[in-house]
Symmetry: C2
Subunit: 560 residues, 2 copies
Amino acid sequence: MAEGLFKDLREHSIAEFFRKNSQMLGYNGKIKSLTTVVHEAVTNSLDACEESGILPSITVELKQPDDEMVFVRSKDNGPGIPKKHISDVFGKMLAGTKFHRNIQLRGQQGIGIAGVTMFSQMTTGKPVEIITVTKEEAWDIELTIDIRKNKADILTQQEIKPKPEETGVEYLANFKEVQFSNADQSPYEYLRRTALANPHAEITYIDPSGARINFPRTAQELPERPIEVPPHPKGVIVDDILLMAKSSTNHTVKGMLQTELSRFSAAKGEELQKHVEFDLGMAPKKVSWTEAEQIVKAFKKMSFLAPATDCLRPIGEKNIEAAMQSILAPEFLSVIERRPTVYGGGYAFQVEVGIAYGGHAGRKLASGEQRWEIMRFANRAPLLFDAGGCALMKAAQDVEWNRYGLKGIDNLPVTIFINLISTHIPYTGAGKQSVSDINEIVEEIRFALMDVGRKFNRFHSHKRLLQEHSARRNTFLKYVTEIAPVMADMLNRDKKDIEPKWVKLVEDHVGETIDAEPGEEGIPEEPEGKKGALEAEDEIEELEEEKPKKGKKGGLSDYM
Amino acid sequence: MAEGLFKDLREHSIAEFFRKNSQMLGYNGKIKSLTTVVHEAVTNSLDACEESGILPSITVELKQPDDEMVFVRSKDNGPGIPKKHISDVFGKMLAGTKFHRNIQLRGQQGIGIAGVTMFSQMTTGKPVEIITVTKEEAWDIELTIDIRKNKADILTQQEIKPKPEETGVEYLANFKEVQFSNADQSPYEYLRRTALANPHAEITYIDPSGARINFPRTAQELPERPIEVPPHPKGVIVDDILLMAKSSTNHTVKGMLQTELSRFSAAKGEELQKHVEFDLGMAPKKVSWTEAEQIVKAFKKMSFLAPATDCLRPIGEKNIEAAMQSILAPEFLSVIERRPTVYGGGYAFQVEVGIAYGGHAGRKLASGEQRWEIMRFANRAPLLFDAGGCALMKAAQDVEWNRYGLKGIDNLPVTIFINLISTHIPYTGAGKQSVSDINEIVEEIRFALMDVGRKFNRFHSHKRLLQEHSARRNTFLKYVTEIAPVMADMLNRDKKDIEPKWVKLVEDHVGETIDAEPGEEGIPEEPEGKKGALEAEDEIEELEEEKPKKGKKGGLSDYM
């Protein structure tokens, strides 16, 4: 009986797994599936260009050969891919270059684009075509995936002669079970948001009608390349130390830690020695769980410099402001970038958020109702789906917006922009549309949002103050015209002598009040300096202090 | 340059992938991680028992050897696992027996329990221990996973002599980065809900304090074993036909379809021949995309019997009712089971839902506020996390509850029970906590909820009617006492003659009205027959018809 259950036991390939569970890769729903295709192609292209120091120019073209089929062509100006690697990149899942690199990249799993090849083949039976041009060679290749073996089958390969002058990769594939649309979650919206978060990229989108939409490059320089940094001591777990020790070529544990971790200096090595009960001069191979555990516990007690900022490359406050300003033309806009920090596993991350109010901010429903809009990005790639389970969404919902003058925010004309960047984004699934709600990440985003919320509150109070002020002024002026004749009569003077003095009095006092502390109550003209990762308590205390102060009241009432 | 990017290209194992992305397996958050461990162990045990015709008795014990560590022991009375398969089952991801079987099982991916082994090792560095007793052999084995190779390393193995009399598997492992709790999403709650949805299982839970909680077996018979059925023609995609054809041992396509699909008879073969432009007598190996596509297109036009009901085993309306009644003691309860149907990929599925109102239904927050509660199950396994992105949740939210007298349902004392059963649950991720929002599934659940909603509405109208009625009666009776003396005076009769007649008149008419159509307006005493998978239009028409009718008005006003 026990044996009977196991007669069919066998090992399955990762490709078989994802063929059966293609929804886990983002292939569920016809609109979503098409956007997933575009997402995978474009993120690969952006990564390749940036890693090679090339300003990206990307073209995505969609065609509808027939009612059911959509053809996608995606072309970049990257360095191209050597022919010998084409099979692994486009036709094998979990083959990748980015898996163990501690660097901020859009791709990280080595599943995405091979998944696209699989989805094309699953729905159309056709191979995909890849045209690759490197400085050395140029090829036109057709391939399919052998699902059982998780391995590419190259069907045709043709050298291109003469070789085109520009390097790059062009990926051409057909899909069924997809649907072209220009809706909220369409390729168009995906590319629009990609352009928003990547001002250094030029993106051209050609839709099935032949319409050509160009998102021009608005930043003429590549973001500086992030520097690959080793894990941070504050984030490593015991098992990481053991894995490190297993493959280390260092002669001592101390040396290994200096090589493999960031912010771990020789001095830190000496400090660590005081915390552990074994000699850090021992060979890494001899490290057992007990020693590794002592190391990690000691790390918890020690202090280290925060992760280097150059392993992460935020979009930048100015870039985000410019982009949101140009698209949304809001009444109020504030953008905050927080300092990099680290979450479990030693991965550095950083958040930047923006809030726009009024103008074209928010979403208008077909019914005319107003809703807020939350634009989520992970390593500058837009997240359009699965908001329900996403840490970015959760953080936005967790903020008590009514404390910041944004009561009922979900029905206000508000757009919130959140970009999470990290050397390893903890996605909830291989479809990469939603970030797992790791506590450290949710809190950082929440603090950042509270920051911009406070700024909104000041703007809002200022606006309200202006309104109240103007109302007061009008009231006083109304009294002037009523009181002046009476006063004139009482004092036996001409009304014309009295009235201008009263008006001046009102204007001097009620006019002056609001500008008494310029910048303090108004909208800051420059973004403030970057805020650190404060503790919850700090933030809350700060909030108390910053409660909107009313402008100084003028002394007019003394006259009444 | 192009080559430089690929110097680190290599293939990673699925275990490496999930070690780095353990959040995708449900290992994010300390409480969730512990519940995931219990979930994986218990679902494997339930599957093994049921497949072997054994009434499950499962014990889960948690201990806290120190502040950071939690020890989990999970034991079943299944058939045991032969020693030679232990490595693959507990120490290799994507090795499994269930992957290609079209049968309703809790496990389906071959990842879960190997993931538990990996998580134990990642957080404690310790091996896991497995004690397996089959009729033939009994072993005590310790193993770890070689993450790079996705392969078990057996550390110790010891034959147990004398062999214990009872067969079964006992899994023992230690974990850090977990937290014991008795909260909403704890192992306790997980087991409580498992018991609710599996009345044929006996579950014992021993918490770290030594407290022993027994969820007794309330159904003394195993649910009939689901029959493994081949894919249904209405659900297969072109690629499925091609894969089938590639490995078929049949001589003709027609024969292959009869063998490989359910509901495809010889007669259907003849019908199909009329729809396709090639001879179904051709060899399967020769089938290309074009032919396979013709077959699938023809299937869309043809009609087939619905999937056999015996491939799916719902919990059953009576069992769900009994369970919800005993736990929630609600004021109103209604349970509906829909007929099996099929979603893309040929997978049969079925939904059963219940709604309870009043009594202990819903959730009380610490603040005393009332919230609704949605209990989600997939193949009888509770889903406690990631509700935000789940099709079951979405369906519940999509219903316009105010049409059914449940305005503001999220603040009402309402518990909604949803069980989705299928030969393949389309989870959003390998963590299996959330179901992808496949349209067919969302709609089926929505229709089922609308059904129970209508029943609630009748109950609710009835209740409201009773209240209105009683108010009317009291009004009339009040008039009687005022009118009777006047009438008596007018007619020159004794008040005592008049009044009883008037009272009788009121009671006859206002008393009778509400019972005029017993059962029609009242709560149905028996669940109605199973409803089929109706079209949206049908449902809506039905809804219109069923708008609460007021009871017939009595003729009393004629007397006034």
